[in-house]
Symmetry: C2
């Protein structure tokens, strides 16, 4: 959302571009926070964006900051129009994780050209980064961190800090051995609390919470959140420090993972950016396969009803209860699967103690199934007795009981599918979030109808 | 989830409690991280928890840390068995936001008794906290922060830092005027980079990003995430500094809000804790109203099919396509509503530029509707032509077209409802996330069936 401040800024930028008031525009851009400008970019026309960039492009640091904060597709679109030389200068202003993220989205040729332009060290850093798997700690870490030897004195540490003004985060000071192994951590604040001659080894905390370069970004986020860290050091298999992941990146990961899970519920997962901001075609491409599942499910349900034609012909009103069977089953099944999926994602559910979850879900479903099954039996009985529904084939009480039992059973089946699917998927290491999507909802529909008609034809024919 | 380390710890604790090996237990507890013990608590039996607490309770700081990190319901259960005196001592070890959160869950009597035991200043702090609305910046902030006068020198600032060892976060130094108004911010690191006689006013950044005490916690989280802050100062209406919200609390907020949104999709929102870990009864209580909506929707759909009895009697196979009408409509409607809800929550969708979202969703739905409507027409036509479905009342081509058009129309109606509901709710300041729940899915079902039968009876009768 654009807040009031951003809307005002957007308005001024648009006005000054239209009036070609470059001086006023420069004044506005001088004061703006890069994060605010990044947000506004998405609301400007192509020509307006070009104007803004022509004015800020000499301030490489600021421009890089804006590009880093903007939506990746917006940044890539802007950069693609620049020369490889200028792109490489801008990317060198960024941390290599951000640079790698943008390079990754370039067409192959442009990526090669830009990498060629970059200075050797920077290029090597970015290329090394691209070697790590996507969404791992190695890929998202910042390789610039502040490390000292254990034998350094506090006085020397402060001098080193004064020299390394460029390193991003100074909240923790990492203590690293001759071989590059992480042996301790100290806080910046501790430096101020002890005498200048104290050795770092004497104030450092030797038990450091770390994460491996190969760890999934979700595990990084979980660890940072659990231990309330501002940054977590990333180490390789032999404990050598490779970089840090900072809490602001962790926030982005947590948001991104939540969005991905929700899109999976919609059966619209895939590249989050293209679903949210992409073209019609991109949306259709991502969404059609899931609807296909639903389409086949529907055709299968049609086939099922066809199999029970004799029951349907004898008691036509059975058809009228298809919607309630599907609706109640679908909703209770979705409740179960979302509760289990979110419980697994937030680790409120322990995958090693699943029996308690399954038993709770089934008992909840039993209670709700009995409640709504009984309610339906009562409602159908009254509708039949009062003659609002007319039929003469089956005794009223029996028919009412059969329909109530049908809804109850399909609710139970739905709860079982909704609870077990995500648990089984998690066990075989498939993301359980897809269990909230159309694939499972469709199976719930199909099985619900099958159970309903089986019970009805069995008891009525 | 319990990782391997936590499972090992859990196992040792259980074993040592069973064997009454207090010494070994003490050794384990001495080394454990409070966040790890908090996690393990939920997996211990009542008697095991009591044993652990009897051994750690003299270390008030550690015990308070464990209780703060544990699930709130677990902490409350443990505390309720202690005397108001001990509870007050433990709560005083916590920051007043955490203490207020726990006190809020106590029965009234116990809360009064504990507040009476607390020292005057602490009690006042906690009581003031309870005056702020739940889920606002005022309620979640930490009132302890490090503030200096602008005329302080860096040397004096460092001395002050050395004295205030208790204040939580030292990443930022806040600069506050005589009237308590926040006039600037400096980083701890800056103190190390300038000469000791420099005035704080000369190194501080005068433009501070702040948040009002009344702001919703979601806005707090959004601001911290957007500007990559470690902490945000909370100010009252006249700009006086009242406290800070730190990034670790922001992470909890972001996770909590995502979980709440997902539970709303399940029609199971309410107190997150009781849904995830509560009793059967608590679950049934939260979940039954949403199923009731679905139940009434189903009954209404039954009523609708009754209204089209003549069409149904003439062409019985219309009933067999109810599942596909409901399934396709439900799925495409859910896709639209989840995309819009998540887009609004992450502010990828600008509420002032809704037309582009609505138009995109409708064009996507149009494409998908035409695709699957045509597919169904073709399928039905083939099934009729080959005699797999037998009927003699209506011409095959016409019937196939009518059914395809019915599914297409109900998909369009579903997409419109799914897109517009969250947008309208957001406009009238109701959380749009409920638009992903059973209320909307049920309306989609009902309207989908209505549209399907209206088209069928209109064209076939």
């Amino acid at each position: 959302m654009l807040g009031n401040k951003s809307r005002l800024l957007l308005q001024s930028i648009k006005t000054f571009v239209a009036r070609s008031s470059d001086q006023k525009l420069v004044k506005v851009l001088d004061k703006i926070h890069p994060a605010d400008l990044a947000l506004i970019l998405g609301h400007l026309k192509r020509s307006e964006v070009d104007k803004v960039f022509s004015l800020i492009k000499d301030n490489l640091e600021f421009t890089a900051e804006v590009l880093k904060e903007a939506q990746p597709d917006v940044s890539v679109e802007i950069l693609e129009n620049l020369s490889p030389k200028v792109i490489s200068l801008l990317l060198q202003e960024m941390y290599s994780d951000d640079a790698a993220q943008i390079l990754d989205r370039f067409p192959d040729e442009l990526r090669e050209a830009v990498l060629k332009e970059m200075e050797d060290i920077e290029q090597q850093e970015v290329e090394e980064r691209l070697d790590y798997q996507e969404e791992t700690a190695g890929r998202i870490m910042v390789p610039d961190f502040f490390a000292l030897h254990p034998e350094t004195t506090v006085k020397e540490a402060i001098k080193a800090l004064q020299k390394n003004k460029d390193v991003e985060i100074f909240y923790y000071i990492y203590v690293v051995s001759d071989e590059g192994r992480l042996v301790g951590v100290a806080s910046l604040r501790q430096l101020l609390l002890v005498s200048p001659d104290t050795l770092i080894r004497d104030i450092m905390e030797p038990e450091v919470i770390t994460i491996n370069t190969d760890a999934d970004q979700e595990d990084v986020a979980r660890k940072v959140a659990r231990y309330n860290l501002i940054a977590i050091p990333v180490v390789d298999d032999v404990g050598r420090m490779q970089g840090i992941v900072t809490v602001d990146d962790v926030i982005d990961i947590i948001k991104e993972e939540a969005t991905e899970d929700m899109l999976k519920m919609a059966g619209a997962h895939g590249d989050v950016d293209s679903v949210q901001s992409g073209s019609i075609l991109a949306n259709v491409k991502i969404r059609w396969p899931w609807l296909l599942a639903s389409w086949f499910g529907g055709m299968f349900a049609f086939y099922i009803t066809g199999q029970f034609e004799s029951a349907l012909e004898k008691v036509v009103i059975l058809a009228g209860f298809i919607p309630i069977v599907m609706g109640m089953g679908g909703n209770i099944g979705t409740q179960s699967s979302i509760l289990v999926v979110r419980g697994l994602a937030t680790r409120l559910i322990d995958p090693h103690d699943l029996w308690s979850v399954i038993s709770r879900e089934l008992r909840v479903a039993l209670s709700l199934g009995i409640l709504y099954g009984a309610l339906l039996t009562l409602a159908v009985f009254l509708l039949l007795k009062t003659g609002i529904i007319a039929q003469s084939e089956v005794h009223e009480t029996k028919l009412a009981l059969v329909i109530g039992l049908g809804v109850f059973s399909s609710m139970m089946v739905a709860a079982v599918i909704g609870t077990l699917c995500p648990i089984i998927l998690d066990r075989i290491h498939i993301d359980p979030a897809i269990a909230t999507g159309p694939l499972v909802t469709t199976s719930i529909d199909v099985f619900g109808i099958l159970v309903y008609f089986t019970i009805a034809s069995w008891l009525l024919l």
